[in-house]
Symmetry: C2
Subunit: 203 residues, 2 copies
DNA sequence: CATGATTGGTAGGACTCCTACCAATGTCAT
DNA sequence: ATGACATTGGTAGGAGTCCTACCAATCATG
């Protein structure tokens, strides 16, 4: 009975890390679902709404949105129809490209999108208690992981600083060692973005 | 234009951590969906299958499974019907409690459940490259976060060592500072379980 | 301007996920 | 024992996800 739990087997650590990440991801999904449902929306619709708010016009297109959510385009088309029916989004026909409708949030849509941000709150409360010395390495770890997962093909669009052509890591010492060559600004770990609108993938 | 990005605003770090966690969670969902789909299953069915394999009989019940997946019980009931139809699960009527059917994996179900574990692979590949000195604190961070999220009500069932009544943290120095009073064993960070079958919540 | 590629809508099917509702079973007190 | 109550989980029905096909517009090109 002394070999039942392979305490010495070393890939265990990685397996547990995966389990923990999955668990936290599940919690995020639950949080989003609750917050969405409270306003009569589904998670997909909520995600869509938040993207429509934060993305510039040229990325507010069905195929781009679908790639961002990792779903096929009809899924986005369906969800958009639901959002239009609920009066949160308008689908216009005046864009530069006649094939893509221009997608806009209505005022009600803006408001709802703002409110939906509340799904972060339980996470922020949970994180507030942890010391910064723990969170900065954690963020760096996750960003590195995201980069790798992108190379594994699991994440289609990752606009993280660490994969951006404008990013210069560890340029100098101090609390803000990194540098963004686009904004021409030094960056600390806490400034590293996960989904930067200006991101351009490194060659 | 010098105030556009609030580089000095400090809650940014937490917000970015949430974004990064969400991203990784999304990747996990995508990985599971792909692996499931490859075998003609949906993510929910896949999750169910893997639980049916790893849980003892007394937890293989519709309501318990539903709580674990954070969904309502008809969702589990539906998914089970699909799995039965696909010949991966049997729903019997011989249990100790006449209300709950006894759920069993068929041989094909066992096989499929094993194969589904492959969804971890891209994550394991991504993690293999990172040094242990980075992963151990990351796991501890995530476990602490899971504990807090449970208190926030986002995670219904978390059977992590850190919330278990048998767990004695930091009992002694060395590479295995913790101790499990049930198994009567010292535990290192890599041994901390995320979903221990023996878990009993601390009073 | 014809040809082919891009874009996104619709159709239809399996499934998720919910709220209700219901039937069967278990539990407990009298 | 025997109601009363609670637990368990099935079914119904509805909105929505998510897919593969297919199709109609609209661009881009030579």
């Amino acid at each position: 009975m002394s070999g039942r739990l392979p305490l010495g087997a070393r890939p265990e650590l990685d397996a547990r890390l995966v389990a923990a990440l999955e668990r936290v991801g599940q919690a995020a999904r639950v949080a989003l679902r609750r917050e969405a449902r409270r306003r009569g929306l589904t998670p997909t619709q909520a995600q869509l709404l938040s993207r429509l708010r934060s993305e510039p016009a040229e990325r507010r297109r069905v195929d781009v949105l679908a790639a961002g959510l990792d779903v096929a385009h009809p899924t986005v088309s369906d969800a958009l129809s639901a959002l239009v029916r609920k009066g949160l989004v308008t689908r216009g026909r005046e864009g530069p490209d006649g094939r893509s409708p221009t997608l806009h949030l209505t005022p009600a849509g803006e408001r709802t999108a703002d409110e939906l941000e509340a799904w972060h709150d339980p996470f922020l409360r949970a994180l507030a208690a942890r010391p910064r010395a723990e969170k900065e390495p954690a963020l760096e770890f996750l960003l590195a992981l995201i980069g790798r997962l992108q190379r594994e093909g699991l994440i289609t669009v990752a606009r993280t600083c660490t994969t951006c052509r404008f990013f210069r890591p560890d340029l100098h010492a101090g609390p803000r060692p990194h540098y963004c060559a686009l904004l021409e600004r030094p960056l600390g770990t806490g400034d590293l973005r996960v989904d930067c609108p200006e991101h351009q993938h490194a060659a």
